[in-house]
């Protein structure tokens, strides 16, 4: 069987999510090709060709593909599926946008956000925001899969696949790209950050949230998150929300400050590698998932933590 991986990129650089998805694909088959659909993305294709284990890189380019329009990606991928038994896409917002369209056009199920490949037709994926893991067996001849990148190790560099330019498909007649505003933040993006610092309702105000959480995040090179309670109270913008109805994150280090640990918040961060909780209530549920808990008022604990980090050379 042959497997297609759809690269995650921004037309300028290839994202690590692609390497992780290649690892998942190699668990299905030794014949793994990568599709780079974009605009001005030859450099991305060359980078994908260097991933160890990749057989061939396909490059499709058009303005619509450059903007990631779902209809345009579908028009490239669906005909290609005559040659493949499975297509794997990183479960980013871009991947989630087009992958179900591909599945529906092929009249197959999408197997969403897999975290484990059991065999070529059996996969494990989280449901209920990770409170349960479902093992499913697909009866479809072609598998359409999205991959949760944090669950797989990145495939190494060292390949030397060929790059082949293919047709860019029929485009997206009913959708017009207007513009985009990408956040020019010095901080890493919440969903992919290695370290996340989150604040909760204990902050008491938006000013306090900014005063306490943001400098600590910047010291750690971390993304900023918030509990739903903090967002609902207006202390932090909605896109900071970590939890079942916000973003699900799994960083190396998650620092929860003044967060009690409501179920819906835990669902969004409990797969983090190391969890730190700072809360003055020693009985707060957040301590049940924390690797390191500090029972203290954040007002004194965060400045002390900043000093300790400085002393440690951070």
């Amino acid at each position: 069987m042959a497997v297609l991986v759809i690269a995650d990129h921004d037309n300028a650089s290839l994202k690590d999510n692609t390497h992780k998805t290649v690892t998942a694909a190699l668990a299905l088959s030794k014949d793994v090709d990568v599709l780079v659909a974009g605009a001005g993305a030859k450099g991305v294709a060359d980078a994908a060709a260097k991933i160890a284990g990749v057989r061939k890189v396909l490059l499709a380019e058009s303005d619509e593909l450059g903007h990631g329009l779902a209809e345009a990606v579908e028009a490239v991928v669906v005909p290609l599926m005559a040659n493949y038994d499975a297509v794997l896409t990183p479960a980013t917002s871009q991947g989630k946008n087009f992958s179900p369209r591909v599945a529906a056009k092929l009249d197959v199920a999408q197997i969403s956000e897999i975290v484990e490949v059991v065999d070529a037709s059996t996969f494990v994926h989280p449901i209920y925001a990770g409170n349960a893991l479902e093992t499913v067996q697909s009866s479809d001849a072609k598998k359409v899969i999205t991959v949760r990148p944090t669950a797989f190790k990145a495939a190494a560099e060292g390949g030397s696949a060929s790059v082949e330019t293919i047709s860019s498909g029929s485009g997206a007649a009913k959708t017009k790209f207007v513009d985009q505003q990408l956040v020019k933040s010095e901080r890493p993006e919440l969903a992919g950050a290695k370290i996340v610092v989150s604040g909760g309702r204990a902050m008491g105000s938006a000013e306090e949230f900014q005063r306490v959480i943001e400098p600590l995040a910047d010291k750690l090179g971390a993304a900023v998150g918030a509990s739903r309670a903090a967002v609902d109270a207006g202390y932090a913008p909605n896109d900071y929300q970590v939890g079942q109805t916000g973003k699900v994150v799994a960083p190396e280090l998650y620092v929860a400050i003044g967060i009690s640990g409501a179920i819906q918040h835990l669902a969004g961060m409990k797969d983090s590698k190391v969890i730190v909780a700072i809360n003055k209530d020693g009985d707060a549920p957040i301590f049940q998932v924390a690797d390191f808990g500090l029972v203290a008022d954040y007002k004194s604990a965060v400045p002390e933590l900043m000093d300790a980090l400085t002393a440690a050379g951070k």
């Binding site: 871009q94 989630k96 059996t122 209920y128 697909s138 985009q180 190391v274 980090l309």
Partner: protein
């Protein structure tokens, strides 16, 4: 302009899902059920568009058991005009749900479908995109702002690292993200009024859609529990522990 809003009845987002001991699924017996939060946002948006005069009729549709009528009544209390229940006790996959919605759309001919981006039970984030594909309609997923105009919609979408604005020709599928709005609480008079609004019930089997399962659930298990952590005394202890753990 007529808008169709599909809504799903799911376990309340504040309730922890518990896996059944026989690993056959998640225990839903005696658990509080509510409208999926993203569906609430979709209903709210459709009602606001109606209040602004951009929409003339909001039709809520749910696919599920007889109890999903409660979810539809919630949508009606929020301001939807009428509701349709496609009744089934079967647990349906997103592709099948999309096919059933396509059958409803063939009868209702809406100008747009506004729906939640994902249900918090299956977490697939797939039904809207699948529906757009099988209808050959354009899609604008993960919407944080919607402007409806004659024959088109301008939608601002949440994408990796920022926002993207698309213009889609109608009819189209728009899926709601968290920042689109904050859903209202239905007032008591509106809850009373909702009881009198029309709610049609149809059997899922009557729509000519094959309800076959593409995926067989072999088991549902609990994720590995986190190993118990430790309490540290000072911030300095915390930093040295984090260094030892290799995350600083």
């Amino acid at each position: 302009m007529k808008v169709l809003v599909p809504v799903k009845r799911v376990i309340d987002f504040n309730v922890k899902a518990r896996v059944k001991s026989d690993q056959s699924g998640v225990d839903l017996a005696n658990v509080k059920m509510s409208m999926n939060p993203f569906c609430e946002i979709a209903v709210e948006e459709a009602v606001r568009q109606k209040e602004k005069g951009a929409v003339t009729e909001v039709v809520a549709v749910s696919i599920g058991p007889i109890q999903a009528q409660e979810t539809l009544r919630t949508a009606l209390a929020m301001g939807a005009d009428r509701a349709i229940l496609i009744q089934t006790d079967q647990d349906l996959e997103p592709l099948t749900v999309a096919k059933l919605l396509k059958a409803v759309i063939a009868e209702e001919s809406p100008d747009a479908v506004i729906m939640g981006k994902q249900a918090i039970d299956g977490d697939n984030n797939a039904t809207g995109q699948m529906l757009a594909a099988i209808l050959d309609w354009p899609q604008a997923t993960f919407a944080s702002a919607i402007e409806l105009a004659a024959g088109k919609a301008k939608v601002t979408r949440e994408v990796d690292g920022g926002l993207q604005t698309l213009e889609v020709s109608l009819p189209a599928i728009i899926t709601a993200d968290l920042r689109l709005n904050e859903p209202r609480y239905a007032s008591l008079p509106n809850i009373m009024k909702a009881k009198k609004k029309p709610l049609d019930v149809k059997e899922a089997g009557s729509l000519g859609v094959d309800l076959k399962q593409h995926l067989k659930v072999l088991k549902v298990t609990e994720p590995a529990k986190r190993a118990g952590g430790i309490k540290v005394e000072t911030a300095a202890d915390l930093v040295s522990n984090l260094k030892t753990a290799g995350v600083l």
